[in-house]
Amino acid sequence: MTSGQSGSQGGGFDSADFVAGFITEAEEHLALANANLLSVEDAAAKGQSTPRQVRELFRSLHTIKGLAAMVGVEPIVEVAHAMESVLREADASAGRLPVGAVELLLNGVRAIEHRVKALEKRQAVPAAPTKLIDALSTLRPSAPRDGAGDGEQTTLAPEIWSKLSGAERSQLVQGLSAGRRGLAFEFIPTPALAAAGLSITAVRERVAERAEIVKVVPRSLPTSERSPGGLAFVLVLLTDGADAALAEVTAATPDAFTPVTLVARHAPAAAPVVEGGAVEDELPEDALRHRGVVRVEITRLDEALERLSALVVTQFRLGRAVAAMRVAGGDVRALAPIVTENGRQLRDLRASIMRARMVSVSELLERIPLIVRGLGRSTGKVARLALETSRAELDKAVAERIFPALVHLVRNAVDHALEPPAERRAAGKPETGLLTISCRELSDSQLELTVSDDGAGVDAAAVARRAGAPIPTTDEALLELLTRPGLSTKEEVSTTSGRGVGMDVVKRIAVDELRGELTMRTKRGQGTTFSLRIPLSITIVDAFSFVCGDETFVVPVAMVEEIQEIDLGLTTRGPDRRRAPRPGGDRRRTARATEMIQRRGQAVPVLRLEEVLGLTSAAEDRSAVESGGGGSARRKAIVVRRHGEAFAFAVDRMLGQQEVVVRPLEDRLVRVHGISGTTDLGDGRPTLVLDLAALGGRLVRDSTGAPPP
């Protein structure tokens, strides 16, 4: 076989295998850590504490640290250790994370991911980021471990909190616990505001219409231009509405509003935590076992599939042997149903292995929230992500291919489509942009993923201007322009979307690589929806490409036993009684195996592929071993084996070896024995994928007089 992978042979310790194992497991834990960090952040915004997530985070980092130490990747150990320390502290204080911790921990996860990637690519692993580690180690535990005894804390500034009565405190805490938003609104009276009718009394009245006022706390400020009276009022509020509404009635800027959230609940009795020790004693594997999930390298599944293919061939031979016995008059009544049953079981087994390659859509989308969050930060846009996933599953290979396209659509949506908050406000939209990703199974073989935003919509005129084309009138025509290579509608280079990679990449992945469809609906001022229709699975094979008779073909590597140069000195040509032209004859039938090459001392028949396929009529008389064009270049023989018998196909020249996506030919007009499907080698034309063994078999049947299939 031509596969170049190095397996571990013998019982020795194989560090490459071990590193691969580390990478898979680290990725699992990093994904889990990301998800947990986001839910911690989410919960914190709602004022809930998250002891379970913090504990899981701790375990993930602890595991990563241990594994990285075993593999000897010191930088990962360092980062994981710094993160673990913060998390141990938080775990010990019932899941309270210090202020700013989530951001730093996310950065930590990214730093580890970055290093795992380097390891995977066999590149040098960068040193641990010292700034990040310093920042992590100086994180202050946020709240006092025990407080006034009421067990609740909020992020309200201590000097304000201290002014609240017990009843007011519990009013605030209860409101926050019930999921309402807490706000501290600072109102600074000025003569200008007073002239506009905005005194503290007026503000209090207006705010009271839209929010529940817990308390108004006056405090003194140094006299300045901003606070000519040296006085401010902090209104502690509970609200269900948007800040914008409050800001509007009080003529305040958004920065006058500080969110108030619950810091944490004190350790619930159910989860007693022994500092430091107890958690570490648990085996990290437990976390995985609980989820009933095993992560397997895809190559192992492919290997199983390959073995299965061999089994299918054996089953086929068995079937033929039974058929031959029947023809010879043998009693096969007992055998026949067993052969049938065996075939059915093999099909089921194949389906099971294919299912094992499937990943859920939610797994595909699990990193999207993190990406949206990061984009929001770097662009200054406020985006809310709504994920509508389904239980649909798709092949790992499809998932891996479609993910970059999905990320690109998400980036575009946040970067280009969603307007900045001020612009959205002016347009009468909520400041927070909405990004929706949903998924729908169209059939048992197709999935539709949609990425929608409620942003500005695609500016058809701008796109047309950049493309130097007339303004398209339909969404289809607009998409056609958008997916032109190199087109970018944003005038300036933006850091997130960059330059050069545009919608053409999305189209190439979805349409050309996966044979799916890409559609778009857009409305100026209202938003854009992109739909990706993709197959749930594709067949990817390692294949040789070659030229024969001016046509390009590919053949799966697994089918090829050897490729050898045809050496004129080692070729024999036998007599061929059937070369005489037949009236109206099928040229394919004139290809006889009368030429032979020597292969390891054995004579192997050589068939001219162009004749087998009926491609050429010009070179009737030339030998299979002669080159078509100038004569000096030698032809190549692709040796395949069928039923133990070796054949060679003479072809003009080999082009290369690559992974190709094979699409079966579905329409009966083009379903032909010996052609297993088509692929795109990148020239935008379909290239035929040949089943050379089947083609050889056809000739054998022809020559033995057996009926065609």
Partner: protein, 145 residues
């Protein structure tokens, strides 16, 4: 049924296809030959990422084939699960034809074309033939393994 029809030409005759079944019309510069497929199959083309078998209507109608010209078009049609391209000499116009205007073809025509012409219609001074797409592509048979 929609009134819109795509007008196409094969040799000197003009045909129409219901626009509702037409996915797109593409120029034709050649197709990937499929050795072993029926003679009527011009080959495979890749149109917007989809691999579509193309039937040469000249061969279907028993006419000599020609090399692709600048006017050659593949009319990609979809009916049910099947998507098939029809290679014609020319196709650009879309005509509005009220359904009532279609007449059944003369019996001789039906016989000679083996039912490939479903109906005829007089549009101005032109006589147009409605191609029976389903007949042209043949019934899809279930292929046993």
């Amino acid at each position: 049924m929609s009134e819109l029809h795509v007008l196409c030409k094969i040799a000197d005759a003009e045909y129409v296809l219901p626009a509702a079944d037409v996915l797109q019309m593409e120029s034709f510069t050649g197709a990937t030959k499929v050795p072993g497929a029926d003679e009527q199959v011009a080959g495979l083309v890749q149109i917007r990422g989809r691999v579509v078998p193309v039937l040469d209507l000249r061969v279907v109608f028993g006419l000599p084939t020609i090399s692709p010209t600048i006017d050659s078009r593949v009319v990609v049609m979809k009916r049910g699960d099947r998507t098939v391209g029809l290679l014609v000499d020319y196709a650009r116009e879309v005509l509005k034809i009220p359904p009532a205007d279609f007449q059944p073809p003369p019996a001789v025509v039906t016989q000679q074309t083996e039912g490939l012409v479903k109906a005829v219609v007089q549009a101005g001074n032109r006589l147009l033939m409605l191609i029976d797409f389903t007949k042209v592509i043949g019934e899809e048979r279930e292929h046993a393994e």
